[in-house]
Structure formats: C-alpha cells, structure tokens
Amino acid sequence: MRRKALVLSIVGAGALVLAGAALAGNGGTLPPAPHSPNADSVRQAYWFVLAFAAIVFVGVEGALVALIIRYRRGKRARYADGVQIHGSTRLEIIWTVVPVLILTAIAFFIFIKLPSIADAPKASAADSTTITVEGHQFYWLFRYPNGAISVGTMTAPADNVVNEGVHAPDTDVLHSWWVPALGGKIDAIPGRTNHTWFKAAAGVYPARCSDLCGIQHTLMTATVSVVPRSQYESFIKERAANPDSIALGKEEWDHVCAVCHKLNETYVGPSLGSNPIVTSAKDLTGILRNGVGRMPAVGSNWTDDQIAALVKYTKTIVKPPSANGS
C-alpha cells in the first residue's frame, strides 16, 4: 500500500508538472532559443550536461525506488536484521572513479565549447561595431562609437559582430546585462568594464537587468533592436547630429523618469503632471545629477544636451499650472 502511495504520488506530481509544461507549449525545458552563435554554443553545452544529468537522475532515482520496493519489510518481522554488510572497497572505488570520468567528460566538452562562447569572432571594422552598455538605477544607457546615445533601446547592426563594453558609473550599483536570446549575463559593475558580444539577424530581442539593484529592479528592462547595417549607421548619425533630440528625451522619460513617476498620481515618487521643475533644465540638472531624498542620482553623468532633450519632451506632456496671477 505504502509503495503504491509512493509510486502514485511521484507519478502524480510528475504528471502535474508535465501537464503544466504541455499547457505552456514546450517552454522551459531548454535555455531560451538562441539567436547568436555564443547563445547557441551555451545551448549545446546545456544539452551535453543534460544528457549526463538525465542518465544519473534515472540511475539514482531508479535505484532508490527499486531498492525501496525490493527490500521493504513486507511480512518480515519488524526488527529482523537485514544482511549485516559493512561496506565494499571495490564498490567505493567504482563509484568514485565513474563520476570522475563523467565530470571529466563534462569539463572537457565545456572547454571545447568555451572559445565559441567567450571569444568574439574576428571581424573587420565594416562588419563589427562596439557599443557601450551602461547600467543605471533603473535604466540602460547605450553609447555608440560616434558619441551617439540611446536609452532603453539598443540599436545594433544585423549580422555584425557587436562588441559590448558593459559597466556602471562609479556612483551607481551593480547591475547585470542579459539578453537571453543573445547569450549569457555579464555584470555591469561600478569601477570596471566587462566585455561580451553577439552577432544576430535583424529582430527585436528583450533584455533586462538580472541582479537586484534596488526597489525598481523589476522594471529595469531594455530592448535590443537589431537592424540592417545601413539603418544602424543612419540612426547613430542622426542621434550624434542632434544630441538633444526629442526622441532621446522621450526615451529618457519612458525609461528613467516613468519607472518611478506618473503624470497624474503618486507612484514611487510624486506625480509630475503639473510639476514646473520637470520642464526647467536649470531646476532639473541638480536633481538628476545629485539625486534628492530617496531619488538616486539617475543622471549623474548626463550632459547638458541629454537634459535639454528630456526637457524638450517633458514640455510636451507636463502642463505646469498656468500662472493666473501674472
């Protein structure tokens, strides 16, 4: 009876989980579908480990269930002795050596795959670019080779090797840059720059911060928009030529301000819909660069142009109460 209960419960629990998986399509049995060679190699490494893990899982759990069934007490006396075996040196050696061989195989395969994951392929300047990824509480800022800036959305050239230098300003906290479809995480750390890369076809790939960085860590998401090289070139050229564009201002509002402020209600911070400070570059500068109260210095390293861009945009959405008296 007990054995039946055990088997039934295990099968039942397994079935529930599988039913969940089936309901959800085939989600979650492998890392996210790869769209970059490094992410693809990670998935292969995952497969390799999974194969061994599955064998060990079936072996150990199978042995456990088989032993439980075969050597249950049944009709024997409760305190009858089992066979008094104290050990076996030969078995100890076997179950030490076999795992060593399995783990060696896993390590070996990882080292074979490693260069295709960690090292960016060589590419000419025309087929590659370098984008700086900067993590701030609670948004991602991207700097392009010609000095152009975007916030919240990285625009990158398709089928090019995109080298990413990932860091956070000295006064900020630790973040972790992750584009699941384009490879693993790399931390954005104040005071140092880490490097990673991807090479992807045109498409839109969600990205996010994956290391707890404060109260709105949850909302620290971004998008990687991979577009044809020509489109990428014109995008950064346009941005560099208009460093205070309203387009940048909108990105700043959406990804920097709106994470904690709403126009018409108090959120994490006060409502900004009619706040005259938000439309004054002079008043905003101090707050953005130094923070105020609970608000972090979200714009600690912003240029005047970046602030001007934000003000251009806020002037279109924030309506300070008209000064009736004057």
Partner: protein, 548 residues
Amino acid sequence: MAANADTGVPAYRADWRRGRVTSWLTTVDHKRIGILYLWTALIFFALGGILALMIRAQLATPNETFLVREHYNEAVTIHGTTMIFLVIVPILGGFGNFLVPLMIGARDMAFPRLNALSYWFYLLGGLILYFSFFAKGGAAAAGWTSYATLSTLHEPGRGQDLWILALHVLTLSSLAGAINFIVTITNMRAKGMTWTRMPLFCWSILTYAWLLLLALPTLSAGLTMMLLDRNVGTHFFDPAHGGSPILYQHVFWFFGHPEVYIMVLPAMGIISEVIPVFARKPIFGYKAVAMSTVGIAFLGFLVWGHHMFAVGLPTAVDSWFMITSLIIAVPTGVKIFNWLATLWRGNISFDTPMLWALGFIALFTIGGLSGIFLAAFPVDWQLTQTYYVVAHIHYVLFGGSMFGIFAGLYYWWPKFFGRMLDEKLGKLHFWLVFIGFNLAFFPQHLLGLEGMPRRIYTYSEGGSWEVYNMISTIGAFTMAVGMLVFVLNVLKTARHGKRAVNDPWLADTLEWYATSPPPPWNFERIPYIISPRPLRDLRRRLTDEGRL
C-alpha cells in the same frame, strides 16, 4: 542526583533558578539549551515561511500588486536571512547540542555556560533582525547576499545596519557554539569511542563546527567593512574612491559557500543515522561516508567563485572554480551511493523518519544534478540569477537540509520529549510537504530556463510563466498545510502521545541508552564502547545472557 560527575561537588542551584520559567532562562544543561534552540528555530521557520507564502502570493499571477517594490525586497531579504541564519544553522546546532554529548557518552558540553551564551546571542540576533521591520526605512532590502554598493551607498534605511548587527551577533553565537562542539567531541568521548566508532552525526557536527570556525570570521570582516562604509566614511567597496564592489563578493562567498555545507552536512549526518536503523543494517562504508564529509568540507573552501561567474573574472579563474565545483560532486555522490547500498538487502520499514530520509535522497540528488549545470560556467551565464538558481538552492536547502531536519525531528522527538509523534499525522505531513515541495520548486527550473530572473516582484508575461508560477504557488501553500499538520501532531501528542521507551526504534547509538527524555546527568553509568553500534552490542549481550 545533582552532583558534578567530574569533581563530585554537588551543583549549587539557587531557589529562584528552579521556577518553571527561570529554570529555562538560567539553564546550562545541553539538552534544555538544545530544546530552546529547536523551538526558537521552529518559530523563526514559521515566520520565514509566512514571508515565503507572501512572496508566492505576489507571484501567483502577473501584474499582481499585493507585495511590491521595497516591501517585496524586504520580504525576499528577510526570508533568505531567516531561513539560513535563524533556522537551518541554529536548528542543526540545537540537534548537536542535545545529541552530541549523549551520542559520545558525555554528561554535558565542554563549556555549559558558553553554550547558554551561544543560545541567548542567537535569540538576540533573531530579535534584532525581526524588529528591524520597524526601523526607519524598513528592514534590509538588498537581498540576503547584500551586495555592495547597493547595501553600502544606496540603502539609507537603518534596516541594513540592523541586518549587519543581527548577523554580527549571530556570528558570535555560532563561533562560541563551534568552539564548544569541537572541544566536546575531541575531548569528551566515552572510553573506547575512537574516531571510527563515533556516530556519523557527530562527524558531521564536528565538520560543521570547523566550517563555522573557519568561515565565519570572513563574514564578520565583510560585515564590518560594510558597516564602516555605511557609517564611518571608509571606501572598502566604493569604486569612486578606489574601493571595489567585487571585494565584497569574494569576502561574502568565501564564507557563503562553506555556509551551504554548514547547512547540508549535519542534515546528511542525520540521514546517515536514520537510514541504517530503518533498514536494520549498519551504514554501508562508514569510513567512506565520514571521509566524504571531511572531503566536502575541505573542497567547500575552494569553490566560492562559482557564485561569481557573471562578474567577469578571468577565464582561467572561472575554469578553476568550475573544476573544483565539479570535484565536489564526487564525495557527494559517494554519500548517496553508500546510503543506497545501506538499503540494499535491508529490512526496510517506512516509519515517518525514514520517509523524510528517503525523500532527502530523492530531492538532494536533483539539487546536486542542477548544481552541475551551474558549475559549468558558460551554462551558468544563462542560468545564474534566474529562478533556476532559486529552484537549485531550495532542492539543496529544503529538499536537503529541511527534509533531513524533519527526519531528525521525527526520529529523536521521543528522546527529546519522552513521547512519540503520531505516525499517521507524520506521514500526512511528509506527503503534503513532499508533493507540495516538488510542485513549488520543480517548475522554477523551467521558469529560470525561460528567463525569469529572481528577485523581481512581478511579471507581465502570460503563457508558461503564468502557469508555472501558479503551480509553484499552489505547491507552496500545500507545504504550508503540511506544516499545519505537523503543528497539530505536536499539540496532539504533547499530552496524549505514546510514552517512549529508551530505544523505541531499536537503534544502535548511545543516545538511546539514556531514558527518554534523559535525566540531567544523562547516564547512570557510561558503558565502554567496543564498536560504532554500542546498543546493538548491548542487546546481543543481554540476549546471550538470556535477559532479553
């Protein structure tokens, strides 16, 4: 009989210390201190569990607003800190306190007053942590890992300082306890109890104590640096002034990984006691199990970097930490295989302690295997900081440590309190928690693979995220119902439970030689030990003499 066994001087006890409450407040008896540890840890387990249920309630459905932002981060931080520092580590210390002197044939711990100090520091640390919810700015909210510079420059609330204080106090408590265990086990074993005749649980507590002694000072150093950075203006972790936030991670994980084995090895020690008794066999490969305990502890100091693969350490360093982490799987496997071999050709009874022990093997195996994925650092780059890691640590620390702890509670309850727990309720408790646990945590592997990061308070994705999160929440509440059954069991048997004889399971180790519960002096006489199974020797002698 209130005589000091060693000196023959009667122990003096003032009248005021004999009251029902004061006797507990002033006790230096290892068994009473052990019981204080157990109850305190179980209460904190309930509090940490309530936080976990709040987290699961928030994540049950997308865009939920029940517990968000700083409140969610506080819940996550205090849940983790509670379960690690206020539940698993001290409850294992409680088991050790009660059982080690009995198992090695001693009349108390080496330093009874230090032992009491250790407990009261533990309670103080726990109270500081929980009262920090009322601090200005709320409780700590930077995660149980409290990475710099979030914890140093960006958490202005007093909660973070109280978190540091609580951990400092708990560290002192554990250090005092560790020294006590080491001295007791090294010096106070009964005549004839050589190292290889000592119960495996005592091996695990000895290893636990050495790990605490070697790893905790590093945590204290890290906490002190954090405290100074926050309040005095030092810049240990501040890159703007030449410090390094990575330094904190090295310091924290140099402590933090041995901490995992601090929490798992004594649970494995419990399993090594329970399985032979209910399989009616000696443990298979005693020396291999004891040596693998020590081996895991040693290797545990060489793997801390596997928590930091995404930090961007040099490839050679990542490779080293991958190899050492994979090597730990070998002694861990040795333990699992020896437990399985102990079942082989046994006469297995499925009493509640055995169910928890078998559950431990089943679940810890899964936690060990998912650890291999995380040790392979390029794979870890995808999996780290996601729900895959949350699933992994819960399979290790709940499926492992907590299942071991419940095996121990059901097994030694008659020795602790003199009454048996109810078997029917015990089995119901086990099955609810076993099924609930797998429902709660298995889907989290899948969520992690799909890219759900940990420590986010909500998500907007529908589809599989929604399904898995809902299953996980249902599982968590199923476990909670199981825990209520345990409470019911404790309440029901407290008055009407079956009285326990000295050795109700017909076990082999020395603690069962004492009455249930044991008297303050533990044993009338301490037998000479001739094997690792003194009670079996005794039963055989009595049988030979025709007295049993």
